[in-house]
């Protein structure tokens, strides 16, 4: 079982966390300005990187806080937990 560092609680068992997808996938600020393809891209497209990438994680059975974490899909190394900076919404297109 992975040991995942929470920025507030320290390292805890994987089972205390829930996964929230890629950290750089932000909801567009003005969806009404997007065409169907761009909106579908936001809804369905994922980068699925092989290797290290940043993901959103919630310490759901602990402090309940969301944060981002660098996770390597090859080595399963989970490092550099970082609190969210408050406004993760995407740029206006």
């Amino acid at each position: 079982m992975l040991s995942i560092p929470c920025p507030w609680c320290g390292s805890r068992d994987e089972r205390e966390f829930s996964f929230g997808g890629e950290a750089d996938r932000n909801r567009p600020r003005a969806p009404e300005l997007l065409d169907d393809e761009a909106w579908a891209n936001y809804l369905f497209a994922r980068r699925n990187l092989c290797g290290a990438a940043r993901y959103r994680v919630c310490h759901s059975t602990g402090c309940g806080m969301w944060f981002s974490l660098q996770f390597d899909t090859r080595t399963h190394a989970a490092v550099e937990p970082r609190p969210l900076d408050g406004n993760e919404e995407g740029e206006t297109p």
């Binding site: 929230g20 932000n26 997007l34 169907d36 909106w39 919630c58 969210l84 406004n87 993760e88």
Partner: protein, 979 residues
Amino acid sequence: MSQKFRLVKGGRIDRSRPLRFSFDGMQLSGFAGDTLASALLANGVRVVGRSFKYHRPRGLLAAGPEEPNAFVEVGHAGRRTPNQRATEIPLSDGLCARSENTWPSARFDLLSLLGGIHRLLPPGFYHKTFKWPAWSWYEPLIRRIAGIGRAPSAIDSDWYVQRHLHCDVLVIGAGPAGLSAAVAAAGTGSDTVLIDERDGIGGSQPWDAGVAGWIKIMTERLASSGRCLTLTNTCVTGAYEGQGFTAVENIIGDGPRQRLWHIRAKSVVLASGALERPLVFPDNDRPGIMLASAAREYRERYAVIMGRRVVIVTNNDSAYAGIDGLAEAGVTLVGVIDTRPDPGPAAGTLPYGVRLMSGSVPVAVGGLNGCSGIRFAPHVDGCVTTRSSTHLSCDAILISGGWSPNLHLAAQAGAALDFDLASVAFVARTPPQGWYIVGSANGATTLEQCQEQGASAGLAGAAACGINVHAQFASPPPQPTAAPIAPIWFVEFSDGRRHRRQWVDYLYDVTVTDIRIAARENYAHVEHMKRYTAAGMAPDQGKTGQINAHGVLASITGRSLDGTRITTLRPPYRPMTLGVIAGYETGSLYHAYRLLPAHEVHRRHDAQFDEYGGWQRPAFYRCSGESDAEAIMREVLAARNEVVVFDGSPLGKIEVVGRDAGTFLNRIYVNNMTTLAVDKIRYGVMLDDNGTICDDGVVIRLADTHYLVNSTSARATTTYRRLEMLKQCVWGDLDVRLIPVTEQWATFAISGPGARALIRAMGTDIDLDPAAFPHMTHREGLVADIQVRVARVSFTGEVSYEISLRSSLAYDFLELLLRSKSGRVPTLLGIEALGVLRTEKGYLHVGSDTDGATSPLDIGMVGIIAKKKGDFLGRRSLERRHSQQSGRRQLVGLDLGAMRKTVPVGAHIVGDGLKGPSIGVVTSSCWSPTLNRSIAMALIEDGHTRNGQSVTVWSEGRTWPAAVCLLPFLDPAGARLNV
């Protein structure tokens, strides 16, 4: 039977405590300190089991957990445990053990007749029979003879516990290397855990008095350090990511049977030792053939000998180590067959009179249920070219094929095990990060090497945890073995004749010929060969046979073993009971229910409980003599004609507070929440960004910056978590806080024409006049002198007051309600009746009447969305062509005419005349006692345009005529509600 193979003195058994036990119905005796295996040997029991496929008689090969033959079943009924190794069962008085896979007993097994048809059971048997002629031909026979062991016949009467453990240094194996590591690590003050699967400290070797004294001193130092937890009788079964481990502790004596440890360590010292390999030669599975190291352990630890006249067969020097002890025990060493043409220096130490047959290999072993002699012949590079052979008579054969470091756990943790030609073994050239592999698991062959490697690894492990020690640990390369070895993987014959079978995997009966066939049929990769022949797949996980299988395959295919990877080793290292994995989570703890705060009151009123969304809730309340349906109908009519009380405490409640609370909710709900006035209530639907409905419920505005969101009971947690995610990850700039208060508030809905009178009778300071307190508004005040929140919302279609109060007062409040002084006692309403009431009113239930594709457009919210300004979750998706086009399934009612029966939920809707595909499904269905007819709701393609159209309901071949109709079925104008 007397213990005729027990020596008169010696061993670490307690001769003052004789124990009686039975095996296959034989009454036998042993001593305290024996294992079942050593006691069976002492009594001269040679055949302890039968092989899986051919039912060959098999005897004890090993003395430890690697034993591949002596699988037995112990205990009765709920305590019956199959597939236990006799070598691991401590002897206890009255122990009852039976051999497995045999009938009627291990010694006389009628199924051994199968041995004659081995040519019908080739390698890849399943693969081949699936292809031709048909699996069904073989299945009945195979099912009957397949499997090892019987499942227990009753519920497990034992209990099991689990614990979590975090430590600095985990030391696996308490032999000299592990013990040295633990003492060194604990000495630095680091939290150390020392685990061994045996019942004591010291490892598997039978040490002399000098070493035993050292072990005693070290054990005392460990105890006095106060930093080390020592777990014996505990097997580390799995190594997982993040230095996580599972270990199963067998608990001796009363209490739970086993304890599962979940261990997380910062550093790991693996001192798991090495396992001796058997040699592969014709008839090498005869009972009476044993690993040389095992025979030595039985002799020195349990004072048990294998036979009076023994022959040693070896390809390395280690087997010579125990020869002195044989003579002391009065055993005649008839000769040593050393496969090496030029045996190592140890051969020179043979006592006078012992024959040394170097450069020879065994070609046959006499006997059936034991050994009567051995034939051997000279060989060149493993190939026998002569037809003549020499015979030696003997009653036991001790074999040694070299040593394999026990690296299962390192492999599970991701270490690649490569074959090392110098030591003829698989080694971990790069241990996993944070691991230190020491002792014979690391190729050490002397006690001093083990002690040195262990001590330096213990210090290095502690240093890696941040403890200030001056230690450098470089994993020493595998030592050139002090017992020189020349591998001989099996015996080849140049004459081309059929020779006796040579066994590689004992338990699954894999022979050299099987591996040869697998290679011939192009299953020549080790992983393919393993699956084709099943070598190494038996419950013993190939601890003794797997490496020989690699060697045999390499020889047959003419490849070098250098650099070969070992087949994947997976947890568990040793079989685990299902009970210890389940731990506490059995019986009523398997799935714990939540109980309503007033559960006891419901129980006393004959509530029939059922599970709804994790809660135990009253489905209905039974009056004497009623059927289930009659009770539900009575409750429905009481709501329509009198007054009912419904316990809605699990209703999801989330308080939303902050300057931007309204903005936040406006982005989450389809409905406009900023225009909601204080003390007003509005129904809302929540979508995800795909535009599908994920929850609904009412929103109450308690104050300017304070809302109360009600979610569906079953989704209370999910919806709260979703809102938190949106608040933290999407709109972190909004000033809003979310407080889940579902369990802090109990909720009772008082509903029906008599609701107002009932509350008045209880006494309240709230003005209940419909003009002062209309439908969809909210008040706070006192009812029966209890501070409450009252919401005029209705899921029944009748005048309803949802009264919420502190959970701790729920019990008293419900008691008061049911003892109303006015003489008007409300009927208790269960979930089933509520379902009927809401279906009559056409109120949808998210998850029943909607699915993962239903949008708010499909449930008739087009107008509301058109009026709303600004973005909300899912809005953009509702503008996609897919959301707008025809053919979407829309929620409608079904008029079933005068039919007396209900239609099944899930039934399909098909066009008239049963033509074409399904155009929808029934989502809710019930008998309406109010309307005195059967009603149903359905999701139907373009349902909103089909009003009045006749359709057919189809389920499992039965059909019902129906017509699409508008919702609701009852009181479309809301006349019953707005009074």
